[in-house]
Amino acid sequence: VTRAWSLAFLLALAGLAGTAQAQSGGGQTFLYGVGGGKVVSQASIPARAEGEVIVTFRGDTAAGCAAAGVCSYAGTITVRPQGGDLSVVTYRRRGRIGHAATLFLGGPNGTITSARVQRSALGGQGGTCVDAQGSLVGTSPTAVVHGGRVTIRVLAPGGTLLQTRCAGPLDGDLAAISPAVSVSLPRLARGQMSLDLSGTRAFAGHGFTGTISSTLVLKLGKPSSQASGGPSFPPGIKTQRTRIVTERLSQVRVEGGLSATVSGAADPIICRLLDTCGLTGTLILSPAVHGLSGEVIATGPAGRPYRDFLAALGLTVGGQSRGIEVSVFVTLKGQVRTAVSQAGAMCTDTSGSGGAFAAISASGGLPANGGFLGSWRTRCPGPLLGNASTGVTASVQPGALAHRQFTIQLRGSGPFTDDGYVVTPNGGMSAVVRRGRITSQVITEPAS
């Protein structure tokens, strides 16, 4: 049951993150960036990356730095992916064929993105924030497919290639002017070509002026196709068929707000190295949430009657719910407002890609999990809460699944550290959700 619960949670996360689940032939494929659809074909093209992206910036009054409080920051961000993977998916949605292409950048060698940002202080001592981010699967840029052509940009709105704990522009600020390449979809799908993403552009906005300079070239390898019929297992592996019945949840209303107070670490060695000594601030996930996504998922052996799953979901009284695992998953996304104070200066900013998630086992036994979701980074310095799979607790009322609407409570929980930051979540959100469309799928997985 634990295994089934984990599986269900993975499925739900994929779905809640704006991902379409496509059922085909008993298997399942996740289609990132497409809001629903059946996968027709999928190809993965490995890429070798050469070159780098360098962003230099400084706070500039002409770009509005005074209003945001970023006039004191100047720095350089370097991005050096070692490789990547381009996924090209063909899907069918509402009877029409569509295509999606997503590029993942990363590499095995550790640091992908690094930043060195100077903070000047009038009449006082400034500091230097140096941070680095490594990722085995760095995400962004996202390719746009339109009219049979694919346009790939170095940076994309909501991307994380420039993201560190230091102050600086966001990916979305530079997305429109970042170097891009356009290629026909059939040509791209054949792989074995170079994508030249080099170029230099100047920018001004969101408080900063600077340049983005790219020498990035992606050398695509040979594509490997993946059948849409789901995974296959080597001979001899015992498998089992599992039915997953998913009931979509829609938002009725959301009240309250999650927030977190942040401060620089007390240890002088640690805070100095990230320039967080004496820093205090607040991050608020706006109550005007962009979107709530949620699902109730019932998971069990495919041989069980369908009515058993409906009974477990509280939708009928005619079945046997014992042995069917039921879990509730929800994500909330919204704007993040930040106010950070350091050495008498205040930096304030808003970005639109933060969120929170919760996973609750309605069958009992397992603890609820929750945490921060997406990027809570703004142009001010701050922690990387998107890495925090903690800090949020969640609950639903007992017997909630007996009703067409029910309430999910999310609350900030105990403090935790994020490198040179101490983060204390607080506040809470109450989400009233309405139950909706039900879908069922059967997957094959290794037997437990």
């Binding site: 690094s114 680095a132 190295l273 998630f357 437990s448």
Partner: protein
């Protein structure tokens, strides 16, 4: 990563506890600084102050450890960063080595006297920055207080690592969680029948067993900091240095098998003749336990732009090296490769500098050579393994040179035809 959050409670098969779930919270913080009493001045490292924070929240899953009664709990390390100040007037080194991204494990086991202790490891280190090596941190244990449903690892421990002294501060707490309803297992899936069908073939085969011992020789690398701004993150701008890697006392048994399928049995003389004519395909590796008793020794010198320099020598005992053999591309001999598993950090000393993967690449081959077919049957021979070339990236650029010399003594030859069962 989010999936890890979901997996914060997995089943633990253990002898005494049937199915137990765990949840972890807190963090591990290592800080270190140069210590004059430990000779930091001679290495120009007295100004060094560094930190590494490992978050444990949300990481989950547990399984029985390799030894009976131990518990392994993975610690998530996404977002963890090594930060080192190289001293007044110098810069800061910030690194996210891939070994840290891979996370760590907390192993809870009985220590001497039957007390519960926690081990952290095995791959946490200061990365490319000045600071403790993985083997320095792997030896630290945390005392555990156990109360109802909780392993309390909060506390601090001092440690010494070469010219540094440091402190490990733990706020780590592992709580047992209620069991899931029903029963489940996070363990590997059962294999119904891993070998569903087999058949037998005749192999003409020559098996050669060698004693291989190291002779004087080093694999060398010279390196320098990358150009600005790529050197800024590692504080390697203007730095130059050298590394010399050797394996004193390396002694292993190497077994080569050269074979081909045949329709009828052949004798030993014929098999050896076919080996010499290149008709058999060779492959092989070490015989005996993996990661034998080899010691890897690296000597590093690094000079900063300001004129200061750092010299250090580091020994890695029980280095996880292994030799592998295969046919050369031309088929006229045997290719022999000395492999170094990724993450073993043989090149790291307490000075800053490049990682093994920077110098030798992410593929594990440290050095290689080829042995001609005629050489294989010599009683004694000397081979030289090398991997010359250049490297670039991750803050340092440089070149590889030098060679490792080994004495190869043929101890036993077996030749003839054997019957083999195949899938």
């Amino acid at each position: 990563m989010l999936a890890l959050a979901a997996l914060a409670a997995l089943a633990l098969p253990a002898p005494a506890v049937a199915q137990q779930t765990f949840a972890t919270s807190g963090s591990i913080t290592y800080t270190w600084q140069g210590d004059p009493a430990r000779g930091c001045a001679a290495q120009s490292l007295c100004g060094v102050q560094g930190a590494l924070i490992l978050q444990a929240q949300g990481s989950g899953g547990s399984s029985s450890g390799p030894s009976r009664g131990s518990i392994d709990i993975p610690l998530e390390a996404t977002g963890s960063t090594v930060r080192v100040s190289d001293g007044p007037g110098a810069g800061d080194c910030v690194d996210v080595p891939s070994s840290i991204q891979g996370g760590g494990f907390l192993t809870i086991a009985r220590g001497p006297g039957g007390r519960l202790v926690g081990h952290l490891g095995p791959s946490l280190s200061s990365g490319r920055c000045a600071g403790p090596r993985a083997q320095d941190l792997a030896g630290i244990t945390l005392p555990i207080r156990r109360s109802r449903g909780m392993y309390d690892l909060r506390g601090s421990e001092s440690f010494a690592a070469g010219p540094f002294t440091g402190t490990l501060v733990s706020t780590l707490v592992v709580r047992t969680a209620p069991n899931a309803s029903g029963s489940g297992s996070a363990g590997p899936s059962p294999v119904a029948n891993p070998y569903p069908s087999t058949h037998k073939v005749l192999l003409e085969q020559v098996t050669l067993r060698y004693r291989i011992t190291s002779l004087p020789g080093t694999l060398d690398a010279s390196f320098s900091g990358e150009s600005d701004p790529f050197c800024a993150t590692l504080d390697s701008c203007g730095a130059t240095g050298t590394l010399a890697l050797s394996f004193p006392g390396f002694q292993r048994t190497l077994v080569l098998n050269a074979s081909r399928t045949v329709q009828a049995r052949v004798g030993a003389r014929q098999a050896i003749a076919d080996l010499e004519r290149g008709r058999l395909q060779a492959q092989g590796g070490e015989s005996g336990p993996f990661a034998g008793s080899s010691t890897a020794r690296v000597a590093e010198t690094l000079s900063w732009a300001g004129g200061l320099s750092c010299h250090d020598t580091s020994d890695t005992s029980r280095a996880p090296l292994f030799l592998s053999a295969g046919p050369t591309r031309s088929g006229g001999g045997v290719s022999l490769v000395l492999n170094n598993p990724v993450g073993s950090d043989l090149l790291r000393t307490h000075c800053p500098g490049p990682l093994d993967t920077d110098v030798f690449g992410v593929f594990p081959g440290l050095a290689r050579t080829s042995i001609g077919l005629a050489e294989l049957l010599k009683r004694h021979s000397v081979i030289s393994l090398t991997k010359p070339g250049s490297f670039a990236g991750a803050g340092y650029v440089g070149g590889r040179s030098g060679a490792l010399a080994f004495s190869l003594t043929l101890e036993r030859v077996r030749a003839g035809t054997v019957e083999e069962t195949r899938l």
